[in-house]
């Protein structure tokens, strides 16, 4: 290998660049040893290949093939030729190549954009239109046992997702006196109505001030909510609202929707970001943002249920106020409710609706204390 070091040319006696390189023509599997020189007149690398053909690559079109493991050689390509390669034995020529690290051309940009749009559109269509439509139909068709199993499974998933210790799902509270008080409250509340599904009220040992309904008659209360309520009536009001969702089968639709959407989002984000998408959806499920109309219907149902149980519907307004007071301090969840401008309307509605006089207290103090201690 004979090569002079690269220098600025001064006069006619300046040393010239010369190197013995390997030229890959991209037509056959025999690398050709070529003598590469610089054509200073046009500013190009030039050499004669094995077939006697002269190649001349102007400096600006020369790119270095990136991410090479062996730094002992330099692999060059021509912007306008996808297959030819020139391999130089050292990196001496580097300062002469102004666009060495520029990108190779992006092929098929139009197709890429078209498929990106198609992918997003199909995901949007599936999550936004097809899955909800199908879920709405399925919620009407699913038999009671199936719905209950769906609720049970979803509850298990939510309990696992809410767990912060990484050890076990969030426990279900089962203090016997508390359960007795809870069941007394549920019985009084539903004594006058014939529910389409059997209720299954569950208390989770978690500080969140929240309650939600799941398919198959599940009403889930958090310990945080029970302790945020000042009277049994306030708690009963939230329960009545959730029973309203159970009756309308809102949670069934919701659970089926999320079952259809979780996988699609996981697919889109890949491995570890997909896990975040699943958590996000679980959060959506607890924090079920049903439609405005669904919430209003559940409220109206709750008013009626409370009147029948001789609880003043204004207790619901009291509980909503409690959420407002807790505001941002309450952990998660009901926060969206408290910041929601509609909450004021809902408080007004609960106060404007026909009230009844409370005949007796819903739970005596002993039972109420037992219920508040259900997770202890």
């Amino acid at each position: 290998m004979s090569r002079a070091p690269l220098q600025i040319r001064v006069g006619n006696n300046a040393p010239r660049f010369q190197a013995t390189g390997q030229f890959l023509s991209g037509t056959h599997a025999s690398p050709q040893e070529v003598t590469v020189t610089v054509d200073e007149d046009i500013g190009a690398l030039t050499w004669v290949d094995g077939e006697g053909e002269t190649h001349s690559w102007p400096f600006p079109v020369i790119r270095e093939v990136p991410d090479q493991a062996g730094r002992d050689i330099m692999v060059l390509r021509n912007y306008y030729d996808p297959v030819q390669r020139l391999i130089l034995p050292d990196r001496e020529i580097t300062p002469r190549l102004p666009n060495r690290t520029h990108r190779a051309p992006v092929t098929k940009r139009g197709r890429l954009i078209a498929w990106a749009v198609a992918a997003l559109a199909s995901v949007a269509l599936i999550i936004g239109v097809l899955v909800p439509r199908m879920a709405d139909q399925m919620a009407l068709l699913i038999p009671t046992e199936g719905e209950r199993a769906l609720g049970e499974t979803t509850l298990g998933q939510i309990r696992a997702a809410l767990d912060e210790t990484g050890l076990a799902p969030v426990p279900v509270c089962d203090g016997a006196p508390g359960l007795a008080a809870l069941s007394a409250m549920t019985d009084k509340l539903t004594f006058h109505v014939d529910l389409p599904v059997e209720l299954n009220v569950v208390v989770l040992d978690h500080d969140m001030v929240n309650a939600f309904a799941l398919p198959g008659g599940y009403v889930v209360l958090f310990d945080g909510l029970i302790n945020a309520a000042r009277t049994p009536e306030e708690l009963a009001a939230v329960m009545a609202h959730e029973i309203g969702h159970v009756v309308s089968r809102d949670p069934t639709r919701h659970a089926l929707r999320s079952a259809g959407s979780i996988g699609v989002l996981g697919l889109l984000f890949g491995d570890f970001a997909g896990g975040a998408a699943v958590l996000f959806l679980t959060e959506r499920l607890i924090n079920a943002q049903y439609s405005q109309a669904a919430e209003e219907t559940a409220d109206i149902f709750a008013h009626e249920l409370m009147r029948l149980a001789e609880i003043p519907p204004s207790a619901l307004a009291d509980m909503f106020r409690r959420f407002q007071e807790l505001g941002g301090d309450a952990e998660g969840i009901m926060a969206h409710l408290s910041s929601h401008p509609q909450l004021r309307d809902r408080i007004q509605a609960a106060e404007a609706t026909e009230q009844v006089q409370a005949v007796s207290t819903l739970l005596d103090p002993a039972a109420w204390n037992a219920l508040r201690a259900i997770c202890r």
């Binding site: 090479q68 493991a69 692999v75 297959v83 992006v106 498929w115 599936i126 199936g146």
Partner: protein, 397 residues
């Protein structure tokens, strides 16, 4: 060997650990920061690096895969898979809850439904990788045939499972032959020679392990003595794991040595014991290196969960005085640090040394036959590795 060439080409491996470590760490970080979008670039760059490190006959391989192509292929896969995962799975879920009152049936059917797609994806990914691999300026290639491959793979797996693994060499051989006979270098087609029964040699340690494990059960049933049972069982299990590695490495050796390309003959002579040792030691080293950030993360985690416990300790009180969000943020950062370190270190301690070992043991006999080979046209391979990416087939490279 019938070729007259006296000196076969040997293979050089020029990749060093540090550059690879920085490349994987840097690209991994970008992947995290872009919510996973950069993973197409990460994969391309890491592959480009590995390929360029391997120099059969002194000439580096070149990987010319394009991240945009990969992204495009992934988007195509999303269009189809979103339908399957969204609609079909929802229907399955509904049917499963309606008929069986649980979701096990749905998961099972859904899983079985994905299996053919998984093999399809594997073949398509291989086709893309070969179409974007060059050596001495010529492209490799794989003929279309992904569904044929998926069908054959399904039947072979079924037969292998039904034969309790005894017919595994048959599967390994015929699937490799299907792929190899459709593989090209330039204009020339590869050919897989040999017979499937030759792979039984590679199964010897597995057979010994099976006998040991059977003996373990016999000893346990006859003597009920825990000590010999445990010893035999441990020995059998270790040998079984080694047997799996041995089978992979040995079958690769036997199959490669029977591959032909227009008079050119490949030969690879890896040591199964060496590969087993590199893998075990590599993961051990990686695990040890992860222990440090892992320990800190564990400590922070305890602190976030039980802040009150530390308030009383004067040395740690300052920690509980920190706002909770700083601890949560630190935990999240550490989690990603561990994630990134794990992937970078397994590249450095496992993938690179294994690849170097294979490369060092690879020779190409009869290289003068290569001169007649010409370039093949570009395979647009539009789906790239989209399905493999979406289904997470063969995660490593």
């Amino acid at each position: 060997m019938t070729t007259a060439s006296p000196d076969p080409l040997s293979t050089e491996f020029v990749g060093r650990r540090w550059p690879l470590f920085w490349l994987t760490l840097k690209t991994g970080l970008l992947t995290v920061l872009t919510l996973g979008l950069y993973r197409f670039w990460m994969k391309t760059r890491i592959r480009r690096w590995y390929w360029s490190a391997i120099r059969p006959g002194g000439h580096p391989l070149e990987y010319v895969g394009d991240p945009f192509e990969k992204l495009l292929g992934f988007l195509i896969a999303v269009v189809f898979l979103a339908f399957y995962i969204g609609i079909v799975n929802l229907l399955l879920m509904f049917a499963s809850f309606t008929l069986f009152h649980g979701n096990v049936a749905a998961y099972l059917v859904s899983f079985v439904g994905v299996i053919p797609l998984w093999f399809y994806a594997q073949y398509r990914a291989r086709r893309y990788i070969l179409a974007r691999t060059r050596w001495r300026g010529l492209r490799f290639g794989l003929e279309p045939g992904a569904w044929g491959y998926a069908g054959r793979a399904l039947v072979h797996w079924l037969v292998t499972i039904l034969s309790l693994g005894l017919l595994m060499p048959r599967m390994t051989f015929w699937l490799e032959k299907y792929r190899t006979d459709r593989t090209f270098f330039g204009t020339e087609r590869f050919e897989q020679g040999g017979r499937w029964t030759m792979l039984y040699r590679a199964m010897r340690p597995l057979f010994v392990a099976a006998i040991l494990l059977l003996a373990t059960i016999t000893v346990f049933l006859t003597t009920q003595d825990p000590l010999p049972t445990a010893l035999l069982g441990a020995l059998g299990s270790i040998l079984f794991v080694y047997g799996l590695v041995h089978y992979r490495v040995e079958s690769l050796r036997l199959l490669t040595n029977e591959k032909r390309l227009a008079g050119v003959q490949l030969a690879v002579d890896p040591s199964a014991l060496r590969v087993f040792w590199i893998t075990a030691f590599g993961y051990l080293l990686t695990g040890l290196a992860i222990l440090i950030p892992g320990g800190i993360l564990g400590g922070l985690f305890v602190l976030v969960q039980f802040p009150d416990q530390f308030a009383t300790d004067p040395n740690l009180a300052f920690l509980s005085a920190l706002p909770r969000w700083t601890l949560v943020l630190a935990s999240v950062l550490l989690y990603f640090t561990i994630f990134l370190l794990w992937s970078a270190l397994t590249h450095v301690f496992v993938t690179l040394p294994v690849m170097r070992h294979y490369a060092a043991r690879l020779t190409i006999a009869g290289p003068h036959h290569l001169t007649s080979i010409r370039q093949r046209p570009r395979d647009s391979a539009e789906q790239a590795e989209g399905f493999a990416e979406a289904l997470d087939v063969g995660a490593s490279l």
